[in-house]
């Protein structure tokens, strides 16, 4: 009834053909990525601009194999939406991604023959587009398969496959791997710092949100102030906090002995926590209000004390809301921690900003990929927990 207000002249309903049209568009895009766009670019050194290499040159016959496998993965589960067909499609897509990875690694090695050691083989637009399309296909197949364990198994298998590929040296020629090999320790340390920054901010904000929700009379004011903080841009808040910490340190130099400095982790953690207060405080308030009046009355009639009601009734019933708030806050924390590098707090932002300053694309990627992975991990992991909690308490 609410179809688009256009009908094809020969009486074909557009909604019925939309999936087929999208499938054709997907296939054309994959073909373009593999045959029309450069999948690699070969540069004299890590900062120079590259010379493009097309997919057929870099991948050879494997380009055709990838296209065929991709189309197969799309077509296999077309009619019967459920069952082993979708599972098979998932396996086909995962295999295709690994084939693409090995092919690119070998293509890079061949393309670099005869170049000086400083030369780099960077992944170019075609490779990223192909990877995105295959990942999209994999996601669609997983959704159709409707088996939660399959998603986990596929992610685990893909991670294992990528690790094995990296270990075997098949992708060593790719610039990203070269860059990682040169900075393995820095990157690993930065991941740790990033987790520590976002974790500390999350803990601080959680404590702050609990304290703020205990102040019954001031809830209106708290709402205004916390919403106000959200409006302040993060870069501005960081700048303001650095100035403030500097002034505080001059007023009370004893703080320096505690390891506080104007530039460093402290202003970054405070700034990140300030943004997390609103979702956490709001989530806490909503969670505590989630049981209806009858439930609370029943709890009172059973003779539960307010503390027992809080831990036995209010918190379990509000748990899904609480976990949802935690998810929003955790994803924000991981993103905001990237900006912490601006004030010398370290973390993955430092690698990203170094890469921007040097205009070195691979260094940017080296910082960006872990940020995105951590952020997606927090989102997916906590939404799984949210669903599990919902099932547990609201069956």
């Amino acid at each position: 009834m609410f179809a688009l207000p256009l009908a094809l002249p020969f009486g074909v309903h557009p909604s019925r053909n939309l999936p087929r049209l999208a499938g054709i568009a997907w296939t054309c895009a994959l073909a373009l990525a593999l045959f029309g766009l450069p999948v690699l670019s070969i540069a004299e050194n890590r900062l120079a601009l590259g010379r493009p290499v097309l997919g057929l040159q870099a991948l050879g016959w494997q380009a055709w194999l990838i296209l065929a496998l991709g189309v197969a993965g799309l077509v296999i589960p077309s009619r019967q939406a459920s069952g082993w067909r979708s599972g098979f499609a998932v396996a086909v897509f995962a295999l295709t991604i690994l084939v693409l990875g090995t092919g690119l690694g070998r293509g890079a090695m061949q393309a670099l023959v005869g170049f000086p050691p400083a030369a780099r083989a960077r992944l170019d637009g075609g490779a990223w587009l192909a990877l995105a399309l295959l990942a999209g296909g994999l996601g669609l197949a997983l959704r159709r398969a409707r088996a939660p364990w399959l998603g986990r198994a596929t992610v685990a298998a893909l991670v294992l496959g990528v690790v094995l590929l990296a270990r075997s040296g098949a992708v060593d020629a790719l610039s990203l791997a070269v860059e990682y090999a040169a900075r393995r320790q820095t990157v690993n340390a930065a991941i740790g710092e990033h987790l520590a920054l976002s974790g500390a901010a999350l803990a601080l904000a959680l404590a702050g949100a609990v304290l703020l929700s205990l102040w019954r009379r001031g809830q209106g004011l708290v709402a205004i102030v916390l919403s106000g903080i959200q409006v302040v841009p993060a870069v501005a808040l960081l700048g303001g906090l650095v100035a403030l910490t500097g002034g505080l340190l001059r007023a009370a130099p004893a703080l320096r002995d505690l390891g506080v400095s104007a530039l460093g982790a402290v202003p970054a953690i405070v700034a990140i926590a300030a943004y997390l207060l609103l979702p956490l405080w709001r989530g806490l308030a909503l969670a505590l209000r989630s049981p209806d009046a009858a439930t609370l009355e029943a709890a009172g009639a059973l003779g539960l004390t307010p503390t027992q009601t809080l831990f036995g009734v209010r918190l379990p019933l509000g748990a899904p809301i609480l976990v949802a708030a935690l998810r929003v806050a955790a994803v924000q924390a991981v993103g905001l921690a990237t900006l912490g590098a601006l004030v010398g707090a370290g973390g993955l932002g430092r690698i990203v900003f170094d890469g921007m300053a040097q205009f070195a694309p691979d260094l940017i990627l080296l910082g960006a990929i872990p940020v995105i992975t951590l952020s997606l991990g927090a989102e997916i992991g906590l939404s799984r927990i949210e669903a599990a909690v919902r099932r547990r308490w609201h069956a």
């Binding site: 207000p5 205004i224 870069v235 993103g335 921007m356």
Partner: protein
């Protein structure tokens, strides 16, 4: 933003505007130097008013362009996605929306840098990539919140699909859409400030430069002015909406 905040402030736009004006006052070179002196910082090289205004203008221009793009694309896609024909695509759109939100704007700016070069374009891309999804979700939520009976009644009196959209669905979804546009506006001002890292000349520029060479006064000025823009922009949006609501029949 929050219901609990309503009774204490007579008009939400007023509080935002006053906060914005105070922050704008702080960004004035004299005021910022005074604050820096109070914090014990040497008052070095403040930005003069002309430079501050030029930076603000560029900031407003870039954020405005981004916000316009985000609004058109976000609301447009939201309307498309809620049509019946698009219902098989909803899970995919939702998944992409969640995925796009997981990439922080700084990272988008950084990733776009090698492709689009220094300056405004990577900032605009980050703005669109990160801002579209909240607006899309808000629009979808607003339109889906319209009770089916009202839509049914519209059809019963002979409205076409387009009329149902423009006369029933969009007006009823209006408050939800405005709420997401507020989020998008705040996001736009913040992302344009981050764009200074990619070489866009905005109010973020003095902040980033000030952080790098420990120059507190321009840093404070930039920070206060950026925050002032966000508050004033929100106040303007709210005032505009309530004025529009007042003149509408």
């Amino acid at each position: 933003m929050d219901r609990a905040a309503q009774p204490t402030v007579r008009h939400p736009a007023l509080g935002l505007a006053v906060t914005g004006l105070i922050l704008a006052g702080i960004s004035h070179p004299a005021a910022a130097s005074l604050i820096a002196a109070a914090l014990g910082e040497p008052a070095r090289r403040p930005l003069d008013v002309g430079r501050l205004l030029a930076l603000s203008l560029q900031h407003v221009f870039l954020a405005g362009a981004g916000l316009a793009l985000v609004t058109i694309l976000g609301v447009g896609l939201g309307i498309l996605v809620t049509r019946r024909a698009a219902s098989p695509w909803r899970p995919m759109v939702d998944a992409i929306a969640a995925g796009a939100q997981a990439v922080p704007p700084v990272v988008v700016v950084a990733l776009a840098l090698p492709v689009l070069g220094f300056g405004g374009p990577p900032t605009l891309l980050a703005l669109v990539a990160y801002g579209i999804m909240p607006v899309l979700r808000g629009t979808v939520g607003g339109i889906e919140g319209v009770a089916p009976d009202i839509r049914e009644a519209g059809r019963a009196v002979g409205l076409t699909r387009l009329q149902i959209l423009t006369r029933i669905e969009l007006p009823l979804a209006g408050p939800a859409i405005v709420e997401t546009l507020r989020t998008a506006l705040v996001l736009a001002v913040a992302t344009v400030a981050v764009g200074a890292l990619a070489g866009a000349t905005t109010l973020g520029t003095p902040i980033v430069a000030g952080l790098q060479n420990q120059n507190t006064v321009p840093m404070l000025q930039g920070a206060a002015a950026t925050a002032a823009l966000a508050f004033l922009g929100e106040a303007a949006l709210l005032a505009l909406v309530s004025a529009w609501g007042a003149i509408r029949p």
